[in-house]
């Protein structure tokens, strides 16, 4: 969320040709009004560059023939849009009732401890000092029957425990050791 204490970072991202091609494809899905492509393009940007910068706001507004404020007002409204890079591994734990009844708040505390995510990054997000890990609460993920629900980037986990977290961390470490993503 953007505010006086969280202004947008200027950003130096340079969209490549593939990024632009995909952006044009997205805009074509809104034949009636280009403005409809604003949120999809923000998703596209965040997926590529990790967060939304001033550069993003300018690039997207120019592309759609809008004023920058039309993009900025979305950034300040939609919780999934980020204005800072998250941890390299970001855990999203469901906070809402069914998951809370199944211990999601304990899980949240365990992840924080395991990852040393002690520093607050605003809006309930905690990051480790080296920026490698972050953990945040999210609201009901529509997986209440298999709680606690958790997400790591785009992947969804059901009945998550600290063992699930350990497995994710081990897998990441292994793929880093072999030079994978």
């Amino acid at each position: 969320m953007v505010g006086p204490d969280q202004p947008l970072l200027p950003g130096t991202e340079a969209p490549g040709t593939e990024f632009v091609r995909k952006a044009d494809e997205i805009v074509r899905q809104y034949p009636v009004s280009r403005r409809s492509a604003a949120l999809p393009l923000l998703h596209h940007w965040q997926q590529e560059f990790g967060f939304v910068s001033q550069r993003a706001v300018e690039w997207i507004s120019e592309r759609l023939g809008l004023k920058p404020i039309h993009i900025l007002e979305l950034v300040t409204f939609y919780p999934m849009l980020r204005v800072r890079p998250g941890g390299k591994i970001n855990f999203k734990v469901c906070r809402t009732l069914s998951c809370a009844l199944a211990g999601s708040h304990d899980l949240f505390a365990q992840i924080r401890e395991r990852c040393g995510a002690t520093a607050t990054a605003g809006h309930g997000m905690y990051v480790s000092p080296d920026g490698a890990y972050s953990v945040e609460f999210v609201e009901c993920l529509a997986a209440c029957g298999t709680p606690p629900a958790m997400m790591v980037e785009e992947e969804e986990f059901e009945r998550a425990t600290i063992d699930t977290v350990e497995r994710i961390l081990a897998k990441r470490q292994a793929s880093r050791a072999t030079g994978g993503a």
Binding site: Q29, R35, L39, F77, P79, L97, A142, G145, P147
Partner: protein, 458 residues
């Protein structure tokens, strides 16, 4: 129609919408769908007049599965095609973010083509040539599954120009939300899809069927609702109307979560199973041998029901005359009308169960945090009230309750509902009203700080 009798209870599950979803060899690709009779109903629909499909949907008695239970055929009938000069749009509400609800997810992730077929038929019936699926942002995989399904459907000419030689054109795309609950409210959804903040519009004049997307007539329906349309075309409206009970036709997918042994989703004919049968026979009863304390029957916005309560239910008997019967919570048949008559609503079908070890102040505080976070902020009573109620509850949960708190909560809730642009006002005040009224002694004890600390919910 397969009877998949997994339940030991008196009634067996009747899976129409989820018929194939959990079969081991069933996959999301179009070939699998076609092997299971996929897109046959689209062929049938395209041979019918659009108005004839609307008539079948009216005859079926189908009511919306997104929360309000509004009759789908009536909604579709609001567009007067003889007069209308504007394009019509069809939007699928796949925002699924009402806490306790996880049914649309099963359809999207396991049987996406069923949704597409239902949507294409519904678009044709409403003479729409452009449709969007608004899916919540967190369902990234779900969006990818739908994108792939759309590409497959296009390649087979179930979408695009001159669909199957019928002369009918339709384009359809996926639009991803970005983490805001209010995008599930249909006019908030429309604003969001127009590239703006999801600020709900005031009704009147902004009824979607009149002034919807791009201020054109727009049909917004839930995922489960749109899937049902396919089956209505298959069996005919009259036959569909025989499933379930009058005014509660077809099946409903109930999502059970919280303190039961076996949570899950279950599809039953309207009114075919009681709350007690679902919780005890199907879901294995309350976890750890505990006792039932409270049930939220239709997503977190529905009023809570307390174990041991009885309700006076007015209903039509078999002779068609009205009668009043007394029913225990466990005996309530699950459908729209009975749950409404019990003072709550079956809403989105999300049933959240709390056992006797749960602290009701903490449970309500958990929900109030949700509403305080999700208010879009347009209306003062909702924006300030939702946050204020949460602050009071948070303070009570922390052991800093004051004697006036329970009454203050009730006063606040009462002054939000009915004074806002959208139904979020009711959604955030109904839980507060019902929890405080029905568990008043617990709230008063908390307020007086004399309570014994129960197992915290969070």
């Amino acid at each position: 129609m397969a009877e998949i009798g997994t339940a030991k209870g008196p009634a067996a599950e009747h899976r129409i919408i989820l018929r194939y979803a959990d079969e081991p060899d069933y996959t999301t690709d179009i070939d699998c769908y076609l092997r299971h009779g996929g897109y046959e109903q689209l062929r049938k629909a395209l041979s019918m007049e659009p108005a004839a499909i609307v008539a079948e949907v009216k005859a079926s008695g189908l009511r919306g599965r997104g929360g309000a239970g509004f009759p789908t055929g009536t909604k579709w009938g609001f567009i007067d095609h003889a007069k209308n000069q504007k394009p019509v749009y069809l939007l699928c509400n796949a925002d699924e973010s009402e806490p306790g609800t996880f049914k649309d997810r099963q359809i999207i992730y396991k049987d996406p083509h069923q949704l597409l077929e239902g949507m294409i038929i519904s678009s044709y019936a409403n003479r729409a040539h452009l449709a969007y699926i608004y899916i919540r942002g967190e369902m990234v995989r779900g969006a990818q599954i739908l994108e792939r399904a759309l590409a497959e459907a296009r390649a087979k000419n179930f979408l695009g120009e001159n669909i199957l030689g019928s002369g009918y054109d339709l384009d359809m795309f996926v639009f991803r939300g970005a983490g805001a609950y209010i995008c599930g409210e249909e006019t908030g959804l429309i604003e969001s899809l127009e590239g703006k903040r999801a600020y709900p519009r005031i009704k009147p004049p902004y009824f979607p069927a009149v002034l919807g997307l791009y201020l054109c007539p727009t049909i917004v329906n839930n995922v489960e609702t749109l899937c049902n349309v396919k089956h209505i075309v298959e069996m005919g409206g009259a036959a569909y109307a025989k499933i379930g009970t009058p005014n509660n036709t077809g099946t409903r997918i109930w999502c059970v979560s919280g303190d039961v042994r076996r949570p899950g989703y279950f599809e039953y004919d309207g009114g075919a199973i009681t709350m007690g049968e679902l919780l005890y026979d199907v879901c294995g009863g309350i976890r750890d041998g505990n006792r039932l304390k409270a049930v939220i029957p239709g997503g977190s916005s529905a009023k809570v029901l307390r174990a041991g309560e009885t309700y006076r239910i007015r209903r039509k008997n078999s002779q068609g005359t009205m009668e009043e019967v007394e029913m225990k919570l466990e005996d309530l048949p699950l459908d729209f009308d009975t749950i409404a008559a019990s003072g709550s609503m079956s809403g989105s079908g999300g049933i959240i169960v709390m056992d006797h070890t749960r602290d009701m102040v903490e449970c309500l505080n958990n929900l109030s945090a949700f509403y305080a976070h999700e208010s879009c902020g347009q209306c003062t009573p909702c924006r300030e009230g939702a946050l204020w109620m949460h602050k009071i509850l948070d303070r009570m949960a922390e052991g800093e309750g004051r004697p006036e708190d329970p009454q203050l909560l009730l006063d606040l809730a009462e002054q939000i509902a009915g004074r806002t642009i959208c139904a979020f006002g009711e959604a955030c005040s109904w839980p507060v009203e019902s929890f405080v009224a029905k568990f008043r002694e617990e709230f008063e004890a908390k307020a007086a700080k004399e309570h014994e600390r129960l197992q915290p919910a969070c």
